[in-house]
Symmetry: C2
Subunit: 347 residues, 2 copies
C-alpha cells in the first residue's frame, strides 16, 4: 500500500516542530509526494529538515497525485493550528484521506466529519486508539529481549534511535521489531499504541499489551515517550517504562539541550543523574541497566561530535554514538551482548 | 444541598471494594439515606464497613426519600458490574440522579442516556472532567504550603489521611483545603479533578491546575493516587507528584500489605525503600521530604498497633499515627513545623 502523502508543515518546517514530517520522509520515502508550506515553496525537504529531496509546494493542487494529507507536526498539547483548517477542508474536498496524530481528533469535529462522509474519505486519528486495560505484570516472555529507549528530554531522538537499532538488527539477520508508542512511530511502522493519549490508569496496561502483541519476535525495541525530567510528561514516561519492563535501556540525549523542551526556566540535570534515575525507576519493577548512549549531535561539527563522543564513552564506560553520524552498530553490539548474557540465563 | 444518597454496593460491601461508600458515609453522613446490598439487608453499614449506622436495604423502594443513586465501589479498571445495570435503570425510572466514578461513563451509554432524558434525571460521571493542558511548572505560589499524601500501594488510606489532616488543621484555625484527585474525594469535597482518567499527556497539567485553583488557601493537602510501586498506576502517581510539586509528603501504608492490590505475584519493597524512592522522584522537580507516616492498622489489635507505631517511629525518626486510632495531630504537628520553617524562608 502506498499512501502517497502530502505532509502539512505550513509555517513550521523545522526539525523540532516538523518531527513527524522528518521521520516519515526518512523512513517511508517512497510514500511521500510533497511537503506543503507555501513560505518555502520551490525548496526541497533537505533544505529545511536536513532529510530527503521531497519538493515543497504551496498548494494541494501542485500535487495532484497525492492520496493522503498527513499532519506533519507534533506540537505541545496536540492541537491543530487554526490556520490549517482551511487546508484540511480543501484536502477532504479534493478526495484525500487525512491522517492526524493530534490530541484533538479530526473525527470528533462535526464539520470535518460531515465533509469527509460527503466526499467518501477517511479521517484517520492515529491517537484515537485507546485501550482500557490495566497492567497485570504477567505473561511477559523472558526469551524475548526487551530494549527501551529513554531520554533526558522530549524530542531528542528516541524514535529514530529505536528504528535505527531495529533496522540494524534486522540487517544482521535478527528477528527484531520496532514497537511504536507515538504518533510518528505508528505512521512509520503501521502499528503500535499511542501511549501518550491513553487514559492515565491504562498507560502501563497499553505498554504491556504492546509487548504481548509482539513478543513472538526475538528482540523488541520499545520506543520511549517524554522524559522523567520533563515536568509535563513524566507520568507517561514512567507508566510506559513500568508497563514494558525492559531488560536494557538506551539513553538518548541531545548535546546542548539544557532545559526541557518549551520550559526554559527549568534546568535539566547532568546525564549521570538522568542515567541513575532511570535505572532506579526501572528497578521498582525489575533491575534494568542503561546499556548504551545515543547522542543527538545535530548542533555540533564533526570534530565537536567526536570529542563529545569520546568524553561520554570515558565518563560512562558505555558505547556512545549518533545513529546518523556513526550508524547504530555500537548500540546493536550492546544489545547483542545483553542478549548473549540473557540467552545463558533463560532456558 | 443534600444529595440524599442511596449507595449501591450490591455484593461488594467490604472495606476495600466499597471504599467510595465508606468515605461518603464517614465524611457526608447527613447525605446518606441507605446502602443497597440485598444480601445484607437489615444490617447497618458499621457491621460490614466499620463506619456509620446507615441501614442496608434490599430494594430502592425501601428508601423512598432518596434523591441520588451513588455507585459505591472503586474497582480496578473502573467498569460497572453487569448485574448493577438493572438497579441503575430502576433508579432512573424512579427519578433518581445517578452519580458514578467509573471509567465507563454512564452518559456515554445510549440506553441510560435516553432513559435519563425521558425521566429528567442527571447522570453525573465524576471522572468525566478531562482537562487538556500540559504542566508548565510555573505560577505556583510559595506562600501556599503544599502537602501531598503518597502510599506504598493503592487503597491504603491516602484520601482519608488527606481529609483528616485538612479537617484537623481547620479545627485549629488554619486556612486549609483538601484538594481531591479521585472519584471518592471529589464526591466528598464537591470539587477537584479525577487525575486517573486524564489523557496521559495531561496528568501533570491537571494536577498543576488543581494547585492553581486552590493556592489562595494557606495550606492545601493534595490527595495522592496509586503508588510508584503499583505496576498498573505508577504513571498516574508520578505525573500527579510532579504536577503538584509538594513541599512535604505524608507516606501512607497499610500494615500487613505485602503485594500491590490485586497482584499477589509481586512483592512490595520495605517502607524505607518506598520513602527513599518518593523523595528521589519528587526531587527531580524540587526537594521534598516525607514529613510523617500514616499507618493504616485496621488489621491489628490496639496493642499490636501501638507496637508497630513505636517501631516505625524509631526506624524512621518521624511522627507516625493511624488517623482513626490516634487522630491526625502528630501529622498536623509535622505540617505546622514545615510551615514554620517555610514561613521563615518565604518573604
Amino acid at each position: 500500500m502506498n499512501r502517497r502523502f502530502v505532509i502539512l508543515t505550513e509555517g513550521q518546517t523545522n526539525p523540532i516542530r516538523a518531527k513527524t514530517a522528518s521521520c516519515v520522509i526518512r523512513y517511508c520515502p517512497d510514500e511521500v509526494v510533497a511537503l506543503l508550506d507555501r513560505g518555502h515553496a520551490g525548496k526541497v525537504s533537505r533544505d529545511l529538515l536536513g532529510v530527503g529531496d521531497v519538493p515543497i509546494i504551496a498548494r494541494l493542487a501542485d500535487a495532484p497525485e497525492a492520496k493522503t494529507l498527513l499532519i506533519g507536526i507534533a506540537n505541545p498539547g496536540g492541537l491543530i493550528p487554526d490556520a490549517w483548517r482551511a487546508i484540511i477542508v480543501e484536502a477532504i474536498e479534493r478526495g484525500l484521506d487525512v491522517v492526524s496524530g493530534m490530541h484533538d481528533f479530526l473525527a470528533d469535529d462535526p464539520e470535518l466529519a460531515a465533509l469527509a462522509s460527503k466526499h467518501q474519505v477517511r479521517l484517520i486519528d492515529v491517537r484515537n486508539n485507546r485501550l482500557s486495560r490495566i497492567a497485570r505484570g504477567e505473561g511477559l516472555r523472558e526469551d524475548c529481549l526487551r530494549i527501551h529507549t529513554v531520554g533526558h528530554d522530549c524530542s531528542v531522538g528516541k524514535m529514530v534511535v529505536s528504528v535505527e537499532v531495529t533496522n540494524a538488527l534486522k540487517a544482521r539477520g535478527y528477528d527484531a521489531k520496532f514497537a511504536a508508542t507515538g504518533q510518528t512511530g505508528i505512521v512509520v511502522e503501521g502499528d503500535g499504541y499511542p501511549i501518550d493519549c491513553m487514559v492515565a490508569d491504562f498507560i502501563s496496561g497499553a505498554a504491556e499489551q504492546l509487548v504481548l502483541d509482539h513478543q513472538h519476535h526475538d528482540i523488541i525495541v520499545v520506543e520511549g515517550q517524554g522524559s522523567l525530567f520533563h515536568p509535563s510528561y513524566s507520568g507517561v514516561t514512567l507508566g510506559l517504562l513500568h508497563g514494558c519492563q525492559p531488560h536494557g535501556m538506551i539513553l538518548c540525549y541531545e548535546v546542548g539541550r539544557t532545559s526541557p523542551l518549551g520550559l526554559e526556566h527549568i534546568t535539566l540535570p547532568p546525564l549521570s543523574t538522568v542515567r541513575r534515575l532511570y535505572e532506579i525507576a526501572a528497578a521498582t519493577r525489575r533491575p534494568c541497566p542503561v546499556i548504551g548512549i545515543a547522542m543527538n549531535s545535530r548542533l555540533l561539527t564533526k570534530t565537536e561530535a567526536e570529542t563529545e563522543r569520546k568524553e561520554m564513552q570515558r565518563l560512562f564506560g558505555l558505547p556512545v554514538c549518533d545513529v546518523f553520524r556513526h550508524g547504530a552498530e555500537p548500540l546493536v553490539e550492546a544489545v547483542l551482548r545483553l542478549k548473549a548474557i540473557r540467552d545463558q540465563l533463560v532456558p
